[in-house]
Symmetry: D2
Subunit: 401 residues, 4 copies
């Protein structure tokens, strides 16, 4: 039996899983199919071609892996690195932390560059490391594009520049889980070697598909990487790509059709328009936070995330209580503060297939819940700030003009 | 192929069709079934029993008619009245007008009691008519419980009192289309003889099921009513009720399962809680309208509708432009002004399976569109007024406490 | 809660409601929409154009009526005829009988031409009536194209020839409920004035949409017909067609999208291929029946229905028991014998979106249930006869060649 | 856009992915939810309890892993074994082969006991190995319960007896992918240490959930196993089980609700009845194969699989052509012959939520396709043999008695 939710729609504003559009829910509403007919390889081939567009790569090779983002991380690492390889990895929040734990567990030598939570990756520290690494012992740089726990977006073009300056051949492996499909991400232009995303974030799908895209350099590295890998081995995929069967094991038929539908929606809206919409919703959220007199967990303006905003609450308030109450009273799901920022921040996810009035409903809900927990908010203040901005920037819906 | 809508959810705030909850969409997601197996009669029997609860009747007999509300109107009239019968009918907006046109078309003598649009039914005029109708030539009183075009709810208990005072035997036939499931409606207590509702309103279903409920007195009248009727004839149903087959023709299997699901949700929330929620959302809407400095089309405070609010716009603004722009820019569907109030009012439907944050998103959208059309609204003003009220009155979601 | 069915798919082989293809179920899996936006009229306009193709008419005007076939019948009659009008109507089974009852109820003078159940309409009797009707008192001929109760298809081209021969101006009103989309039906070529079908038959949709198509002559007649009508009045539709709003009352959004999807499937397969498929499945069914040593209820080979086969059972067997047992043991829904043929025939519906292996599964099920009720059937005999024929006639699926 | 399939239902008879019942498709037809609310852990907890029932274990601990069966294999191995550990593994078909390849890739020393494809696992060979392994260097026995490529079911109770006889402590790790939910599987009684299944097989779900169940002994082993593992590490799950959050990363909300629905259906039918149904369908299939004069790839009667039958074709026929043609002409998906038996066998999957008439439709289709490829089959022969058996053994559907 179904769990009973409150009346009306759930307001899902965690930074993933995100809201699935009706068109995608519809596309997935189907029986299984035999994956060994010609239909599924044909579908897959077109998907692989189209997935490259959202990574902005022409030379990369994508893998659609039946797993979560955590599995996709593992695929990125084990296919390109060997046990004992030295990597530089930036710690700046819960998800970079979890990834670093995985890196250690997989027996890489991880040189952790830590920032305060709320700061972006310390690229200066990287610079000095590269400067002194004449022998190129550093095999890879691992970085999250967008730290979902703190709402901080790292500067990947700058990272590229540093590497280029030092002519350092380290692979650049990027967690773009809460980034691709929401933020501007340019795999080829920025020289990313492996980028990883996941279906339930900006792609607005159910969980279950990790997407890894590998540059030719990463593919080359995979031929020599000695990390043990089986399920996540790219080689199994590459063999099937060559055979035209495309799948080393049974894919989820439903997720393939869902991916088709969500890519169709993205291309129909226009990828650049999708990115603009994320910028617009994020800016509106930040204006509301400012109007409420609260602070963004992200400390550098240039690093504000356009997919999630982590809001710092006054010290006398437990952010967990905000999240809890939002769900219990307003049918609103907000992101909790994780680990170091537990109790200190709550997060508003504004990624995926959502629009302005959904966000304003969420912001109005946050206002009420803030009042509930004793914060002296002025009702309507955040909504007003967001509306004033949105009102001027929302374009007409093209199909309705 | 699907029409392309803007990104994110559509914000559907017309006073019907209303938003279908996910649980109900799910329940209807099915193949056809043979309606002549024992399963469908068993399902129907339980539905008929449960439908009576939302009409608050124990003695009434419901008919689930594959039609819209217009067809249900016709069923109510032709089964109880004979051509040439005199009826008193109240004109106070577009839907009462359309019903009166139908009444005339069906050859009843209609004594139209007209009110200004925005006023409620003129029950004083009725009183004088009844006082002078010693011979009981008036066979029926036809009244809308809630005039959807103007957002006015009529006082049915008062109507009953007047009839009782004059001991007048006229049938009371009520259009409760935008009422039942949203407003408090008491068929037995108020002595309603025929009440009519429709699936796509407060029941949050697709269009396609007109629900008519007949009192024993109405059933008795149907035995003598000579209006021609075939499709809408209650007799066909009653025969099948007796046979236990329940259906004189093939019902929509999907709508039956949908009705089951929506009733389950209503009973789970509690019918009185559903009514309270409608009151709460309506009050919040009115507070926003007031904060915006705009007027309710409904002129008597006691008659404010809890399922729809018609908002009067300043004379220099075309309300049609508001509705148009809301759809084109904000993916927000508002109700247009109809007929006499075309261009003068727009309507916010707040009935069916919706919640507070959905409404606040809508109100924020209305604020932006009002600004778009040149009304000097203060952003956040309506949302603030609504939030201040809602914040104090929203109960915790029982299943989450 | 869901009724519990046996494991696996239900085998739905009643002659309506028919099986809904997954693509159509998907298309209908959606929230409500505001029917007053430009999107719904645009959708409707395209549907009306495309519906004409399956009626094979260019000059006819279709009406998509929220009702069952019974309502569509009423619409056909009341819009074209006046009380007291004389009509000739053919009785040859349960559905023609029910229609005649409606005709009488609606106060037309019905000259019933009765055939034995299993025979087709007695067109010779019509001929003599027309020959003697010099004054053209006969206003309409009402005939079912396909009598669903007996599996008999009437010869409409012959009917047209007779009328033409006598230059008789009577309207030809056809129940094509279990015909259009399954059988070859040519509204313009055969001079049909009103044709009626219903969503849950060959169109493979849920119940809830009656489709009526009127010739220019029928439209002209509607201007003078004095039958009372409101809900079913074509005039309401025609006004909205002119206005471009298309709907006099709220349509089912879901059924509109469902109709779009089902028409797309029909056009993709090709209407003539759809008709051929029905012929093929029907022929296979009849070969099985013959192999079983049983008789077709339809007595003239030329009149065998391609949408349903009524099978006569030996006198010592109750066909109701067959239907009952098929459902209880094999999850197979067959059509019961109705009225005069109750207990004597069971019916295999083979219309709508089904294919050969589905039918063979059904035939295998019928064999088992026949054995269950004591008929000495040879297992596999009917399936073999059907397979031998199908094997030679099934085309490759075009998209897979 | 959807791929165009032929008209009617697809007939899916590969041994996975299997047919998803409508109830399960419905349950999965939903938006995402926040997995960090109390609702998802509560749902998960109940699922874990219920999953144990289909493994027939009370002491085992299940893990629901977002992956395919291949990932579940890896989870079973890496959590319990250390690099260099010696294992005995049985090769008897394509899936055992693929698993062995994985075992080697993961650096275990694999002692492969090979059987001819079509034979069951050579347990005699095991016996001699155990007899001589006094020092218990063999750490695990890896065996498929049901080899999907050849339709052979291994004798796990016998395996247990051998181990017990020699008091050998090796872990027993079982691929029960095409077994659990179809065949009788008794984890506790048979002393299985790790059993692995997958959502898209007998559980009739989409692909995407690998289910691993670990005995207390296996859990103990996992504390000392040194194989590198991150994504598949049980420890991550166990920590979350203790915390009551249940998920180390985001699960697929849709698959969780789907699993709930499919388990509900299994328990409602009764697990033993589900197993009996699989036996019945398998026996019917084998009777058909025999009637066709063809051979089962499985060479020992006692080892016939009840979830899939591999049919050997005459040497002059290419089984690939059968599969190809079945799909192109009859919309029927059969399993191809894999690797050593490519071209030599085709496979009929009869597992999951299907019923007798579906199978008979499939068998009738196979007859036609056999004739298409030149095999002199007698139409109806297989269907007759199957029907004669099924007719006597199909029980009434309990809810319909």
């Amino acid at each position: 039996m179904d769990y009973v939710y409150g009346p009306g729609r759930s307001h899902l504003f965690v930074p993933g899983p995100s809201n699935i559009p009706e068109q995608v829910i519809r596309a997935m509403n189907r029986n299984n199919e035999n994956h060994r007919t010609p239909a599924i390889p044909a579908l897959t081939k077109a998907l692989l071609d189209d997935v490259k567009k959202i990574f902005k790569t022409t030379s990369g090779i994508p893998f659609l892996i039946p797993s979560t983002g955590t599995g996709a991380w593992e695929s990125a690492l084990t296919n390109t690195l060997s046990p004992g390889d030295q990597i530089v990895s930036f710690l700046m929040g819960q998800f970079s932390l979890l990834w670093i734990e995985q890196q250690k567990k997989l027996n890489f030598k991880v040189d952790v560059v830590e920032s305060e939570w709320g700061q972006d990756a310390d690229l200066d520290a990287l610079e000095s490391k590269l400067a002194s690494d004449k022998s190129h012992t550093i095999k890879a740089i691992c970085i999250v594009h967008n730290e979902t726990a703190t709402g901080v977006t790292n500067d990947l073009p700058k990272l590229r520049k540093i590497l280029d300056y030092y002519k350092h051949p380290a692979l650049v492996i990027v967690d773009a889980v809460s980034s691709i499909g929401a933020l501007d991400f340019r795999m080829d232009e920025w020289g990313i070697d492996v980028a990883v995303t996941s279906s339930q974030k900006a792609l607005s799908l159910p969980t279950g598909m990790g997407i890894v895209c590998a540059s030719p350099k990463a593919i080359e590295a995979s031929k020599h990487a000695t990390s043990l890998r089986s399920y996540f081995d790219w080689n199994g995929y590459l063999k099937c790509y060559n055979l035209g069967t495309y799948w080393p094991y049974t894919p989820s038929i439903q997720l393939l059709y869902g991916l088709r539908a969500t890519l169709d929606l993205i291309f129909e809206e226009g990828l650049e328009n999708v990115i603009s919409r994320h910028k617009r919703l994020a800016k509106a959220t930040r204006l509301a936070v400012e109007a409420w007199g609260l602070k963004n967990c992200c400390q550098n303006k240039e690093s504000y995330s356009d997919s999630v905003t982590a809001v710092v609450v006054p010290t006398n308030i437990d952010s967990g209580e905000i999240v809890n109450r939002a769900w219990k009273k307003y049918n609103l799901s907000l992101g909790v503060g994780l680990n170091k920022v537990a109790g200190k921040v709550f997060r508003i996810g504004h990624l995926g297939n959502i629009n302005e009035l959904q966000l304003l409903g969420c912001l109005a809900g946050v206002e009420m819940v803030l009042r509930d927990v004793g914060y002296p908010i002025k009702f309507g203040s955040g909504v007003a700030a967001a509306s004033a901005y949105l009102h001027n920037t929302i374009p007409l819906i093209p199909s309705r003009i």
